[in-house]
């Protein structure tokens, strides 16, 4: 699995044994704070350090950009971040400062921490301040705590099917929001379920193979670390439906850190959280909130700016930490 993004952004942890009690301080934390641009041409990846070339202004009408944010966990108030609304606001300010306003925002789930109405209210209020005209959501497991996601569906489920899946087209790109956090089975990973998979297959059928596809869901659609539940049991079937397409981008959240993988014409990307970081796989006793020194918090939280260029064959994803300057 490719971890280039991890190295260049400097997601380096002290792996020695005095190490990572995730609720204690991380003593060694190297951080470069630069954004890395991944682009793909014909299935091969090339990377270049993000520079001021970004943001000259999209000259072609079909070029566009959007932003992925994830895991805002409104309602979380423990040591790893006592006020997640502050860091979410920082992320919003960062979005608003982008040279090209994104066409929309995609939130890949865990909007709330405990599915409380007040948490969703607070999130909505904050997101009203973004420059984006539209926000698309998929739920995380933290949004499903009341009767299989009723609170979430009431607010964000309009026009969706089942537990909240849907698709839309934007400037020639086909976006599909999937829900893999409902009806989870004991001992299992994320789950899409038979009904949603059938819907997905039908949804993609009429699309020509040259249509760029973006799938987004909360839990990663590839197995990053099974012991911590970082994967989806039936994602292989979903991915089999997109194999024929020339460009597929999969955007996920849930793990609160950036991971990327390229498999053929499918590029996978997980986003940082705007609330709190989590440890890298296997580096801590469990996957939960990881406390870092206060001055470093903004380096481990961030957004992803995704650019689609018509002349290219794919979408370029740029992760940047909250304190990285553009």
């Amino acid at each position: 699995m490719d971890n280039h993004t991890e190295k260049s952004i400097g997601h380096v942890q002290d792996l020695s044994n005095d190490g990572v009690n995730r609720r204690g301080f991380l003593k060694c934390m190297a951080w470069a704070g630069t954004g890395l641009v991944w682009t793909m041409s014909g299935g091969l990846s090339a990377s270049r350090v993000f520079a001021k070339t970004h943001g000259k202004g999209a000259s072609k009408t079909s070029d566009f950009s959007f932003v992925q944010i994830s895991d805002s966990h409104i309602g979380f108030d423990k040591a790893a971040n006592p006020d997640v609304t502050v860091t979410l606001q920082t992320a919003i300010n960062k979005i608003n400062a982008l040279p090209d306003a994104p066409d929309f925002i995609i939130h890949t789930g865990d909007l709330s921490h405990l599915s409380k109405p007040s948490e969703f209210d607070t999130l909505d209020q904050l997101l009203r301040g973004t420059s984006a005209k539209q926000i698309y959501f998929v739920p995380g497991e933290h949004d499903m705590l009341t009767d299989n996601g009723e609170q979430y569906l009431q607010r964000y489920g309009k026009g969706t099917k089942g537990n909240g899946w849907y698709s839309f087209d934007h400037k020639g790109v086909h976006f599909v929001g999937l829900v893999n956090v409902a009806n989870l089975k004991a001992g299992g990973l994320g789950s899409l379920g038979h009904e949603q998979l059938e819907w997905l297959e039908d949804d993609l059928k009429p699309k020509s193979s040259s249509t760029p596809i973006v799938l987004f869901a909360h839990i990663p659609l590839w197995t990053i670390y099974s012991d911590w539940g970082w994967g989806t049991d039936d994602s292989e079937q979903a991915l089999s439906y997109v194999k024929r397409f020339g460009s597929v981008t999969v955007l996920n959240g849930h793990i609160h850190q950036v991971m990327q993988k390229i498999e053929g014409k499918i590029s996978f990307h997980t986003a940082m959280s705007t609330a709190f970081p989590q440890p890298a796989p296997g580096t801590a006793p469990s996957a939960g909130p990881m406390k870092v020194p206060a001055e470093q918090l903004q380096r481990v939280l961030g957004i992803a700016d995704v650019n689609y260029v018509v002349s290219g064959t794919s979408l370029a994803v740029v992760d940047s930490a909250l304190d990285a300057s553009k």
Binding site: A80, L145, K185, A186, L189, G229, G288
Partner: protein, 133 residues
């Protein structure tokens, strides 16, 4: 069945009031009543086997992961983790709802058998209670 026992003062007062009322009305030992009813979660301990046995939830794990008890035992799960978890019976026999840090859930096991449970948020977290006669 949704558990109703969480650590809140008002719930404790209500628990005691309803519990006392039930003891007066029932006039029988709690061991002979069917398991799984919500009422049992409100009845305070009336005999020694009902002393309460604790499962700690921490670091995304139930500790111990397997517990053997006698019928009539009340098991209490306490969340010591800094993230919410749930306690859900795989057969729908009990369901805690979201337990945040320091919340707890309890269930009185009346019938012998094996009761598997897991966390609905983090389904890799599993455990079981073995209830012996």
């Amino acid at each position: 069945m949704k558990g109703t026992c969480k650590s809140r003062t008002s719930n404790s007062a209500l628990t005691l009031t309803i519990g006392l009322l039930l003891i007066v009305l029932s006039g029988r030992s709690s061991a002979s009543q069917p398991s799984g009813s919500a009422i049992h979660n409100l009845v305070p301990a009336t005999n020694s086997s009902d002393a309460g046995t604790e499962i700690k939830i921490d670091n995304f794990a139930f500790v111990p992961g397997a517990l053997t008890v006698k019928t009539g035992t009340r098991v209490i799960w306490v969340n010591h983790d800094d993230i919410p978890h749930t306690v859900d019976s795989t057969e729908g026999k009990f369901r805690s709802g979201a337990l945040d840090t320091d919340d707890h859930f309890q269930f009185l096991f009346m019938d012998p058998g094996e009761y598997q449970f897991f966390c609905r948020l983090h389904p890799k977290m599993t455990g079981k209670i073995i209830v012996q006669p």
